[in-house]
């Protein structure tokens, strides 16, 4: 995209295009979070209404009350922004923005279709989990800075809950990562292309179980009912946001709905094929990977597909919220440490054995000829900077000390791929035999 913008402006390789591309990505993602919150809040009202046998909003903006959230937003902007007397003013005012920023930053690594991602980070799964864990920081600061006992109680509960649930969440996420052999979300999504039997959730019984554990832990980590102890209305007034009003309060909710969409999207990519539909229509008519307009349309269909899957996840979260009663704090921690962690560990071991023992699975991943557990990212065995390997320039850091023996002295970037294929395969073999040996005792 940056090169495209540079091409329009007429500057090849200028940083200008990169800055504009970054701005475009940020604005698009902001809209995903903000407009997403707008729609999901309306959806929550409608779904909760139906579950409680009433209609929900019906009048604002026409037939289905679809402008209700906007009306709420205008009301919130018009409200007075109150800061309590005993509050730590700076931290109190900053806390909602920290929550929102953490939720938003995690979207930077979330792909919406093949290659449609703001920053294609190689360890995207890890990045998303790390940044998502920061959202609780805003909640804790809000609870502390409010100078209110209800808020502090809410913040402490949230802290205990999120710190505990990060463990099973990490264990669940590791399973698709080792099935795919990479932490890159784009690659993980593309591997599951094809019929729905290729989705990781159908890889074996253990991955099927671990998806539900993942969903439970994800619901807990984004602080949704039945795990919404931090804002338990029946006990703590409104928990950590008791003292907030107006737009600051709504920032917490944008962060919450943004995170719900994020974890649902993460679950869709890791377990449900991401942007690949149950039937590979775009692959059958040959539009996928075709480039040009048809490739773009295929990607657009994939993006819609992904959004639908993530929305289904959010809807299930809403459904759970209005169905199940809230758990007590000891029940929440018991669910995590006595049920989720052992179950996730058992499923992890089971999926690992299934993969290593090569038991039959409906998945036929797009990995070439190798079985999934032998997938190696090819670049790992090819030198990254071949032009640096001539003896004139000593290198620093993690670059190769000397050129590989089979390499020509100064290979062009094109010739590297072809010439080193043999080297790659040889060292590939060596890599896995050596790692196997260390694993076996």
């Amino acid at each position: 995209m940056a090169e495209f913008i540079n091409g329009i402006v007429g500057l090849e390789g200028a940083t200008f295009g990169y800055v504009v591309a970054a701005l475009v990505h940020c604005v698009l993602l902001l809209h995903v979070v903000a407009v997403g919150a707008l729609i999901f809040i309306w959806l929550e009202r409608k779904v909760s209404g139906r579950i409680q046998d009433r209609l929900g909003p019906t009048r604002v903006g026409g037939k289905f009350g679809w402008l209700q959230t906007l009306a709420d937003g205008i009301k919130l902007i018009a409200k007075e922004d109150v800061t309590p007397d005993g509050a730590d003013r700076m931290l109190f005012k900053l806390a909602p923005y920290i929550s929102f920023a953490a939720s938003f930053a995690a979207f930077l690594a979330l792909p919406f279709a093949d290659g449609w991602v703001a920053n294609n980070i190689n360890s995207a799964v890890f990045f998303v989990l790390a940044v998502l864990g920061l959202e609780v920081f805003g909640v804790i600061l809000a609870g502390y800075a409010s100078g209110s006992k209800w808020s502090l109680f809410g913040a402490m509960r949230e802290a205990a809950q999120v710190v505990s649930y990060e463990i099973p969440l990490g264990l669940c996420v590791v399973v698709p990562v080792f099935l795919a052999g990479t932490m890159n979300l784009v690659t993980i999504g593309n591997m599951q292309a094809g019929w729905l039997s290729n989705w990781f959730v159908f890889h074996d019984p253990f991955t099927f179980c671990i998806f539900w554990i993942f969903f439970t832990c994800a619901t807990a980590s984004v602080n949704r009912a039945p795990f919404d102890l931090a804002e338990a209305e029946s006990e703590l007034v409104a928990g950590f946001h008791t003292e907030y009003s107006g737009l600051r309060w709504s920032f917490f909710f944008m962060a919450e709905y943004g995170s719900m969409f994020l974890v649902s999207g993460l679950g869709a990519i890791l377990f449900f094929g991401g942007w690949n539909g149950p039937v590979p229509i775009m692959h059958i008519i040959g539009w996928a990977d075709s480039g040009g307009l048809t490739g773009y349309l295929a990607n657009l269909a994939g993006c819609v597909n992904f959004m639908l899957k993530a929305t289904v996840g959010v809807t299930v979260m809403i459904w759970i919220r209005w169905t199940l009663p809230r758990l007590r704090i000891d029940q929440v921690i018991t669910t995590c440490l006595k049920y989720c962690v052992p179950l996730a560990s058992a499923c992890f071991l089971g999926a690992l054995c299934w993969e290593v023992l090569d038991i039959w699975s409906p998945n036929h991943l797009h990995l070439g000829s190798k079985p999934a557990h032998q997938v190696n990212e090819d670049w790992a065995t090819v030198p990254r900077f071949p032009e640096l390997t001539n003896p004139g320039i000593p290198e620093s850091g993690d670059v190769y000390e000397n050129g590989p023996p089979e390499m020509p002295a100064e290979p062009g970037p094109e010739s590297v791929d072809g010439d080193t294929a043999a080297v790659e395969r040889a060292s590939d073999h060596q890599l896995f035999t050596s790692s196997r040996q260390e694993d076996s005792p």
């Binding site: 700076m90 931290l91 360890s123 670049w379 000397n402």
Partner: protein, 218 residues
């Protein structure tokens, strides 16, 4: 007006992140409120993670966020909020402590500065240019080599021709296993201690005791 096309955005972001890290590190020193100190520390560590992302070390950056920022968060909660009494909420540093801190911190800074300016390759303009122009910033793939190094294969050393040197460059399997077993021991220990305490109190409560003693136990 500044020519936007000519700005080197890499340097620009480096200055921003480095500046934020330094300013908030100073903020940790200068504020006397413990919770704000922890808050500034988290911002400073987060800006350091930004520097890692800028350098293309995404895995290390995410690690920095998860371990240091997340760890400071836990410190903030359990170390500060739960235990801090009023005299620790607002901390006054004695001048003697300042002197000691300046000596220790200053000597460390001197060591780091000498090391940073002592790299011969960084003085040669030509070599710096060559290294910068060959940088691959689009997608630096660091996670897999790191993971393989932890399981005993140094991918970056596979092409080492000297057999003797190659053997000395095995991975970090042993430290990795030692650390993981250490963590496991810590976890089991923590679980055991949490269990034992509750059982002791359970026994105590059944004995007829003066009410004052029970409060001391807690």
């Amino acid at each position: 007006m500044i020519n936007l096309l000519a700005v080197s955005w890499g340097d620009f972001y480096f200055i921003i992140f480095a500046g934020v890290a330094c300013i908030f590190a100073l903020g940790v020193l200068l504020t006397s409120n413990v919770v704000r100190m922890a808050f500034y520390l988290i911002i400073s560590l987060g800006a350091t993670a930004g520097l890692f992302f800028l350098a293309g070390a995404e895995f290390v950056g995410a690690m920095q966020l998860m371990i240091y920022v997340g760890g400071t968060l836990v410190l903030l909660i359990f170390g500060v909020m739960l235990t801090a009494q009023s005299r620790f909420i607002s901390m006054k540093t004695h001048p003697r402590d300042w002197l000691l801190a300046v000596i220790v911190g200053g000597s460390l800074l001197m060591v780091l500065l000498t090391a940073a300016f002592g790299v011969p390759e960084w003085h040669n303009e030509q070599q710096v240019q060559a290294a910068v122009s060959s940088l691959e910033t689009a997608d630096s793939k660091t996670a897999t080599p790191l993971g393989l190094a932890l399981t005993g294969v140094r991918v970056d050393k596979l092409d080492q021709m000297d057999q003797q040197l190659k053997e000395g460059m095995s991975g970090y399997l042993l430290p990795f296993v030692i650390v993981s077993i250490h963590l496991l021991v810590v976890l089991i220990g923590a679980a055991y201690m949490a269990r034992a305490k509750r059982m002791v109190r359970f026994v105590r409560e059944e004995e007829p005791e003066a009410p004052g003693e029970n409060q001391d136990q807690e």
